[in-house]
Amino acid sequence: MIESIDTSLIDWSRAQFAMTAMYHWIFVPLTLGLAVVMGIMETLYYKTGKEFWKKTAMFWMKLFGINFAIGVATGLILEFEFGTNWSNYSWFVGDIFGAPLAIEGILAFFMEATFIAVMFFGWGKVSKRFHLASTWLTGLGATISAWWILVANAWMQHPVGMEFNPDTVRNEMVDFWAVATSPVAVNKFFHTVLSGWVLGAIFVVGISCWYLLKKRNHEFALASIKIGAIFGLVASLLSAWTGDGSGYQIAQTQPMKLAAVEGLYEGGTNVGLVGIGMLNPEKKTYDDGKDPFLFCIEIPSMLSFLAERDVDGYVPGIANIIEGGYEMKDGTKALSAAEKIERGKTAIGALAAYRAAKSAGHEEDAQVAYKVLQENIPYFGYGYIKDVNQLVPNVPLNFYAFRIMVILGGYFILFFIVVLFFIYKKDLSKMRWMHWIALLTIPLGYIAGQAGWVVAECGRQPWAIRDMLPTSVAISKLDVSSVQITFFIFLFLFTVMLIAGAGIMVKAIKKGPETGNNVTINH
């Protein structure tokens, strides 16, 4: 029973997975971003034949290689955790999760292993055209890998294209394309990859400004800043656009996440978007009568417009979702959480009856139970919910993480515009204060990306798979102590690797790109 699962086991398992995923996400966005930057640099070398662009491309490739080496395979630890800590989940998702991850693994291995070798070893050994193609294909391989990972993640947020098989207790894929091209996956992919591009651009501009601060590699730094800032501005604007698309998808498929992100307890039409606000820490439950905000400034009707593309659009709040009764888009009345819980229990009871009947060889009884299961399967996960308040994600965490991401996203657009203005209209090389701002913007790029994932994953709670499997049921029955031990082992290993990686990266940056024609990624 659910009470027999120690809540600290759930917390430690979640903490361990979050730490691993966040550590992995330190490296992935920079890989995605630098892949494009070095591709652009090498394309300029290919077009102009100037040795300067070759050296510039090689320098960013070197940093790409360091980041890639430290980050590569850290994602595999997540797969270990699936098998050990999240065994119920791993079995329950069946081939839905397995297929995209298998494709990702094969693609990552063959594309990246082949073309990354040509990119690093192939200078002067293969044609310029083939080398350039290899550089772009290395980035493309990493991006396609990201696609399949995000398809798997999007399915957890919005499960589609599958049927639950009560005989195997697994979900089976019935429509590959529904899974692979779900609107949630498409938006998530573009928004996530573009956020990686933004980080790559911030990194290039920031590191280049460090050279200006140190009064060295002047030409290289200014050229890199120009390309980085243009690339970053385009990526930031596209990221804002796809972020809007992601927000729309959340409104359509995960209204509770949207309500938590906005601190919206009572919904309605013409709902405003909270621009600036501070949540009331005294508010603990949706129906405790306390005001959700100590103060807030809203943009009138904006949330309705963003969520429904209509200023008069109806956006349900946390209380509305729990109490139900509002009219859905298809004209039906929304079920209350209590009704969903009852239907979930009916579904689980039907699964038990089906399996018992099958076990006893009572085929007719099994078919009756199967029909009941199918009628109630959309609410299967609600059968595990003991208290409707469990359905509400952590509102402060989501509210503030979302605002950190959005505010930083807006700052990045402004940052790139200002950098471009100074580099084209003024002498950026003499603006030390701007160099410092650019350098200090690098960690902000990482914070924005991590905040985005906090919203994506914590906003999904209590679900591992939305409406189907709560996190508390997805976990394996392990000793809490074993999860704690592995948590601290990871913390130690990740810290050591991060320090080692940062040390190598700093050393390579200090060495700089000025090593003449002899510089290669291998030397």
Binding site: M1, I70, W91, T486
Partner: protein, 78 residues
């Protein structure tokens, strides 16, 4: 065909031989993979369902878990 394979082999061999920073990075990668697969995976991350030999056994175990965690009174050993 033989020449092509030989060229590819030589390409990789020369590439690896000429590495300096790359060598350090490869040591880190290999060390990391060793720790992951031969220490973490082996001693700390066993396949939790591994002691259920067949898929049917695994399905039965997870099925029972899913039922028990919601409806303990329906606990059945299938």
């Amino acid at each position: 065909m033989k020449n092509t394979l030989l060229s590819i082999w030589n390409f990789y061999l020369e590439g690896f031989r000429s590495m300096t920073l790359g060598r350090t990075l490869w040591i880190i990668i290999l060390l990391k993979l060793f720790v992951m697969f031969f220490i973490l995976k082996l001693f700390f991350f066993p396949d939790f369902l591994g002691n259920h030999p067949t898929d049917a056994d695994k399905g039965n175990y997870v099925g029972n878990e899913l039922i028990q965690r919601a409806l303990p009174e329906k606990s059945i050993d299938f």
